[in-house]
């Protein structure tokens, strides 16, 4: 077992009590040259809670994820992990601190079997060789524990449906000791039923004591599982509130850009009467 795997195993058994602040963003901003991608965003991610980050395309959601995931570095503000000032220099570093990201493309290799995908980059070995039997068994068990019942872990992951692949990716992150799970629009490409399945896994991960960051542009997906909501608009935070202070309608309004939408409605109906 490598040092990293040992660290992962240790983390798995000692998730902090629910409510503990795992990640805190304080006035985080990111500039790419003279382009301001994100400015003054603050929020917290607690163990056993889901922090939802909502925003339209180009609102800064990707930049937000990349900073917490270690893919990019913030240029303003403070990122605290376990209360400690942190700037990640690589995704690996974030991963080693227990922050795992499930990207929209899921980071899976379509042509490779499910179990090889599950352990990719953290393979179990016996001597110099892969311990395939143990990896297959663990994959099956971990998926079953998340309530995912897959036919055959030896099939290429590309043969699974979008929802199933999403669930495998989440189960993988949870298995490898994620304390904070960042989900990048996990429901964006899914149908209604498949989205429901994924939302259930998000709740399952939360109930296991993980802090979840759920990125989405759909307030109807966010509200049922979310404990805290951050709404981004043009790189700025327009809302950071716990569920108790934010009724569903207000969130939907913020997200839809209430005023803009009614303007659009007006414009469209005007077009119609004009023609």
């Amino acid at each position: 077992m490598s040092a990293r795997q040992a660290a992962q195993a240790a983390r798995r058994t000692e998730l902090p009590p629910p409510g503990t602040v795992l990640v805190e963003l304080d006035g985080i901003g990111k500039r790419y040259g003279n382009v301001l991608a994100l400015a003054d965003v603050s929020t917290v991610v607690r163990a056993g809670e889901v922090t939802c980050v909502l925003g339209d395309n180009g609102a800064g959601k990707s930049t937000f994820i990349k900073i917490i995931a270690g893919a990019h570095q913030h240029t303003d503000g403070v990122l605290r992990v376990d209360g400690e000032d942190t700037t990640f220099t690589s995704p690996r570093e974030a991963l080693d601190r227990g922050i795992a990201t499930v990207y929209q493309d899921l980071a899976v290799v379509d042509l490779m079997p499910i179990w090889r995908n599950f352990f990719l980059g953290s393979e179990l070995r016996r001597g110099p060789f892969l311990d395939s039997a143990r990896m297959k068994r663990t994959t099956r068990e971990e998926l079953a524990r998340m309530g995912i019942d897959l036919r055959d872990v030896d099939q290429p992951i590309g043969t699974l449906s979008g929802g199933e692949r999403q669930c495998v990716a989440i189960a993988r992150a949870v298995h490898f000791g994620a304390r904070v799970l960042i989900l990048d629009e996990p429901t964006a490409a899914l149908g209604v039923k498949q989205s429901g399945v994924v939302l259930r896994y998000i709740a399952a991960a939360r109930d296991r004591g993980l802090g979840v960051v759920f990125i989405t542009h759909n307030p109807h997906h966010a509200y049922p599982v979310g404990d805290r909501f951050v709404v981004l608009k043009r790189g700025r935070s327009v809302c950071d509130a716990p569920k108790a202070e934010l009724p569903r309608d207000e969130l939907v309004g913020l997200m839809a850009g209430g005023a803009e939408l009614s303007a659009l409605e007006h414009e469209l109906s005007a077009d119609r009467t004009a023609s």
């Binding site: 995704p91 690996r92 991963l95 990201t101 990207y103 493309d105 899921l106 980071a107 899976v108 290799v109 379509d110 042509l111 490779m112 090889r116 352990f119 990719l120 980059g121 953290s122 393979e123 070995r125 110099p128 060789f129 892969l130 395939s132 036919r151 055959d152 030896d154 290429p156 590309g158 043969t159 699974l160």
Partner: protein, 351 residues
């Protein structure tokens, strides 16, 4: 092929899973096309080329396949890892020329030449890899560059040093006897004389197969070729894997170079030019996808065997050698179409 007959261990029955017939399972193996092709080509020449039916004929075919096969193994690994190496052919010449020139000019032990050539080959491989990663250009372009650079160097330096395009003289050096024994001897197997290069080839196929299917490095090779960014995201050291693969191709090139040198004691400066495509074709016939992420070393070996059979079979059947090129083209097209079918089947028909 073994996979045709061995059934997978029975998983608990699941009503969503139609029972997979062994045939259907075999259809998703990368080697299938090459295995069928090899059998067909063999049957064909057994009928038309009488010399195929003798032990010596088989040994000839294996010999012709072995040098190509050694390179095809390395090139197949690289292609599974998602890259090409057009400099693979001339690299065989570079290592052989370097070993010959350095050992002879400095009157070193022949093994010193062999060892120094190994170092040079690995450096060239690493350079290919580093250039690829630094420039972010496609490997087709980067290795086309090194192909011309090495081709030019091979000819120019050989002419500069020897005044001709032939490097010779190693056969008089200390250690030459053992170099010949390691790289160019023949073994008698059941009364048939088999070149040692065939054993080197088989050894490489076994090593490459074990690495690909049973080790972490193999997992990473499939991953960087199949989905590079996904591999990076889960912590696979993409740069290291790619550089390692280019070095593996160069290692194969060194081995072929040493075998060529040891067989005749001299090296033509234009050795290997044009062979780079044969390696790629052998790998593709063996089931490697041009897009990476899929393939096998056994398949590449079968691809090389098809080449060997054809190379020997066409003259043995007393046909004009020009038919060889036509055959190459047909095989390549057929294999690519088949591979694409396999890929779509494996990846779930989603495009």
């Amino acid at each position: 092929m073994a996979t045709l007959t061995t059934a997978a261990p029975a998983p608990p029955a699941d009503e969503r899973l139609a029972s997979t017939s062994p045939l259907r399972k075999a259809l998703t193996r990368p080697e299938l096309g090459a295995a069928v092709g090899a059998i067909a080509v063999l049957a064909f020449f057994l009928v038309f080329a009488p010399s195929f039916r003798t032990g010596a004929g088989v040994a000839n075919v294996l010999d012709a396949a072995s040098l190509l096969g050694i390179m095809a193994v390395g090139v197949a690994l690289l292609m599974i890892g998602g890259e090409f190496d057009l400099s693979a052919g001339v690299q065989t010449a570079t290592s052989a020329l370097f070993a010959t020139l350095v050992a002879y000019q400095l009157t070193l032990n022949a093994w010193a030449g062999v060892g120094l050539a190994l170092v040079l080959s690995l450096l060239i491989g690493a350079l290919n890899g580093v250039l690829l990663l630094r420039t972010r250009l496609p490997s087709f372009i980067v290795t086309l560059g090194t192909f011309f650079v090495l081709q030019g160097l091979n000819l120019a330096v050989t002419k500069l040093v020897t005044g001709t395009v032939l490097a010779t003289g190693v056969s008089g050096l200390d250690g030459w006897g053992s170099v010949r024994a390691v790289f160019a001897s023949s073994l008698s197997l059941g009364g048939v004389s088999v070149r040692i290069s065939v054993l080197w080839w088989l050894l490489l196929v076994v090593v490459a197969t074990v690495v690909l299917t049973r080790t972490r490095a193999g997992n990473w090779i499939f991953a960087v070729g199949g989905a590079r960014s996904a591999a990076r995201q889960v912590g696979v050291p993409v740069a290291r894997v790619k550089i390692g693969l280019f070095m593996a191709v160069s290692l194969c090139g060194w081995l072929v170079g040493m075998i060529t040198m040891a067989r005749s004691g001299s090296v033509q400066a234009n050795l290997g030019i044009g062979l780079e495509f044969e390696y790629i074709i052998a790998a593709v016939i063996g089931g490697c996808l041009l897009t990476g992420g899929y393939g096998s070393a056994v398949g590449a070996a079968l691809g090389a065997l098809i080449f060997g059979m054809t190379k020997q079979g066409i003259p043995a059947a007393q046909w004009d050698n020009d038919w060889y090129k036509l055959f190459l083209g047909v095989m390549l097209l057929g294999a690519t179409v088949l591979n694409d079918l396999v890929r779509r089947r494996v990846s779930g028909d989603r495009e």
